[in-house]
């Protein structure tokens, strides 16, 4: 570098000035579209706002979350979100759905990733094939599976009856016993590819000579998997699982279309939108949205801490 110190520092100053200018549109956009609306949602949850008259919202404190009145008889009656069985049902549905779907996706994703990590003829075709479920819009896959799971004309009932798995057609999406299973089938089908690709990227970073050495030592392939592959791919697997868990916790589209009226599959997002828009309980829905946000924020902090995502821009 031949530039004199003063020129250099002038350049640096110019650089950080433009940096601020370059960041401004993005920061402004995110503030208007994410920051401010989030604050307003939290604010609405402490008011009596209604959809038709948002501006007339009045502060009511924690009433939407929990309130109680003392009867003359001395009994106390509680009301609000924290004692609402419908809300806790939705929380339970969301947690149940997230844990089961992500576990299944991790197992199937691992199997697919191991297959794709092997050298064989037609690997390109398999990789292309598993990208198809990922590329299909959620709404479309909900509709496609809704047709395949149809109680009278669905191909899955036909297939299962031919194989002898069931002896009479099942109303998969309508019956309360199977609605959650239907949702899980579609979600696992749709998102396993994403999991498989993340795990595959992790697998490909494991150096091949480790396996070479294990093979020479005569280590059984199953033992190789549990002693070598699994520990080494664990960081990538954990990141994939956390990403998917956070995503599964906010599920909306699939359930809204596939099983719209089932109490067994109503998740926090579905319930909150129902209150916000359909039932004209805007403030109550805001309180539900706020609680969901808090839950996911806690999980995210945990995720960043576990994943130790590299946040620094420069050092390598």
């Amino acid at each position: 570098m031949t530039a004199s110190p003063s020129v250099r520092s002038e350049l640096l100053r110019q650089r950080s000035r433009s940096a601020r200018l370059f960041l401004l549109p993005m920061i402004l956009a995110l503030a208007v579209v994410a920051g401010w609306p989030l604050l307003r949602t939290i604010y609405f949850s402490f008011t009596d706002a209604s959809l038709t008259n948002i501006d007339a919202a009045k502060w009511v404190g924690f009433k939407n979350y929990l309130s109680w009145i003392q009867l003359k008889s001395g009994r106390t009656i509680y009301s609000g979100l924290l004692v609402d069985p419908a809300w806790w049902n939705a929380v339970w549905n969301t947690v149940r759905f997230s844990v089961i779907s992500v576990s299944l996706e991790a197992v199937f994703g691992m199997v697919i990733a191991l297959v794709l990590n092997a050298e064989f003829k037609g690997r390109g075709i398999v990789r292309a094939a598993i990208l198809i479920p990922w590329a299909i819009p959620t709404i479309v896959s909900a509709r496609m599976w809704g047709w395949m799971l149809n109680d009278q004309f669905g191909i899955l009932n036909d297939l299962f009856m031919r194989v002898g798995l069931i002896d009479h057609p099942i109303a998969w999406t309508a019956s309360s016993d199977t609605a959650m299973i239907a949702v899980l089938i579609v979600d696992v089908w749709k998102t396993t590819p994403f999991m498989a690709l993340l795990i595959l990227a992790g697998l490909q970073m494991i150096p091949g000579d480790i396996y070479e050495a294990a093979r020479i030592d005569g280590v059984h392939p199953v033992k190789q998997f549990f002693r070598i592959t699994l520990p080494l791919v664990k960081p990538a697997l954990m990141v994939a699982i956390i990403f998917r868990l956070l995503d599964a916790m906010r599920i909306f589209d699939l359930i809204y279309v596939l099983t719209p009226n089932s109490a067994q599959t109503k998740t926090m997002s579905v319930l909150a939108r129902e209150n916000l828009i359909d039932f004209d309980k805007f403030a109550y829905g805001s309180a539900q949205s706020t609680l969901l946000f808090l839950i996911i924020a806690l999980m995210t902090m945990l995720a960043i801490w576990i994943g130790r995502v590299r946040l620094d821009g420069g050092e390598r």
């Binding site: 350049l11 110019q14 950080s16 433009s18 940096a19 370059f22 549109p25 993005m26 995110l30 579209v33 994410a34 609306p37 949602t41 609405f44 064989f120 398999v126 990789r127 292309a128 094939a129 990208l131 479920p133 990922w134 590329a135 299909i136 819009p137 959620t138 709404i139 479309v140 509709r143 496609m144 047709w147 395949m148 004309f153 191909i155 036909d158 590819p193 994403f194 993340l198 990227a201 992790g202 960081p235 990538a236 990141v239 906010r250 589209d253 809204y256 926090m268 997002s269 909150a272 916000l276 805001s286 949205s289 969901l292 946000f293 996911i296 995502v309 590299r310 821009g313 420069g314 390598r316």
Partner: protein, 276 residues
């Protein structure tokens, strides 16, 4: 070597199961979309009848063609706007040292984890206030919440990994940061821009919650909303043939794009994930 034959057969059987599971639902949607009348209600595993009546119906009737155009306009605008903002922001975040950079990146990352429902109430108010309710502009505006953090994040990782030397000559020549971005970085960034642009396009194309909530008339809907709300004269009379035809129309362009760019998409998807 009978053992290795058994192993090979088992492996290829697994491969076939994976491929069939992945592809069958879409295949079945396609063959259903070509069946009409009573043929649709007989269960067939192979294409046995062929009619384009469903496609003619879906395009000619209702507002589907209009909705398709809406989806194209919204997704294209979202991609353009978020890439424009993300390229300059990523330059600042990856090549310039300033205080609070890590905090800013952390904030951007956490916005991408936001549940959409958490901003729905507040965004509803903002969109009505700005007069964007029931307009395509309102959708473009609201979609920034998920495309912007993602594009900024991926482009920042990409630019960070470019060597310092490529800028040095330009800096010595006294080029402004703007010139450095457009002349030095942009030509190098096409692969990353194509990948992130494509992923942002797919995200915008598939979005449902905002599209459902911030539009009220059939003319301003995007295709996912149209497909979700297709109903017959009663809840039990879903026009399955038409729904499947619409689904195929919406999905085929995406599947083609994804298959063409599969390597880029895979690297883009995993860029944020495995770095950590």
């Amino acid at each position: 070597m009978p053992m290795s034959i058994i192993k090979n057969t088992a492996f290829y059987a697994l491969v076939v199961v994976i491929v069939v599971c992945a592809v069958f639902p879409f295949y079945y949607a396609i063959i259903t979309s070509f069946r009409t009348g009573s043929a649709i209600f007989t269960i067939e595993y192979w294409p046995t009848s062929f009619s384009v009546a469903n496609y003619v119906n879906v395009i000619a009737s209702g507002s589907f063609a209009r909705n398709l155009l809406n989806s194209i306009i919204v997704s294209a605008c979202v991609v353009t706007l978020s890439l424009l903002m993300a390229v300059t922001a990523a330059f600042a975040l990856s090549r310039v040292r300033f205080r609070g950079r890590s905090l800013l990146l952390l904030t951007i990352l956490s916005v991408s984890m936001f549940p959409q429902i958490a901003v729905l109430a507040g965004l509803f108010e903002v969109i009505r206030l700005l007069g964007l309710y029931n307009t395509l502009g309102g959708l473009v505006f609201s979609y920034m919440i998920f495309t912007l953090p993602f594009t900024v994040w991926v482009l920042t990782t990409f630019m960070r990994d470019l060597p310092v030397e490529i800028e040095e000559a330009a800096i010595v020549d006294g080029a402004t940061p703007w010139v450095i971005i457009t002349r030095v970085f942009l030509p190098l960034m096409w692969p990353a821009l194509v990948t992130t642009g494509l992923l942002a396009f797919i995200a915008a194309w598939n979005e449902f919650l905002f599209a459902l909530t911030f539009t009220s008339s059939t003319e301003t809907r995007t295709v996912p909303v149209t497909i979700a709300l297709f109903t017959g004269s009663s809840a039990h009379e879903v026009p399955w043939g038409i729904v499947m035809a619409a689904s195929v129309i919406v999905t085929v362009p995406l599947v083609v794009l994804v298959l063409i760019f599969q390597r880029k998409i895979i690297s883009g998807l995993t860029a944020g994930g495995v770095k950590g």
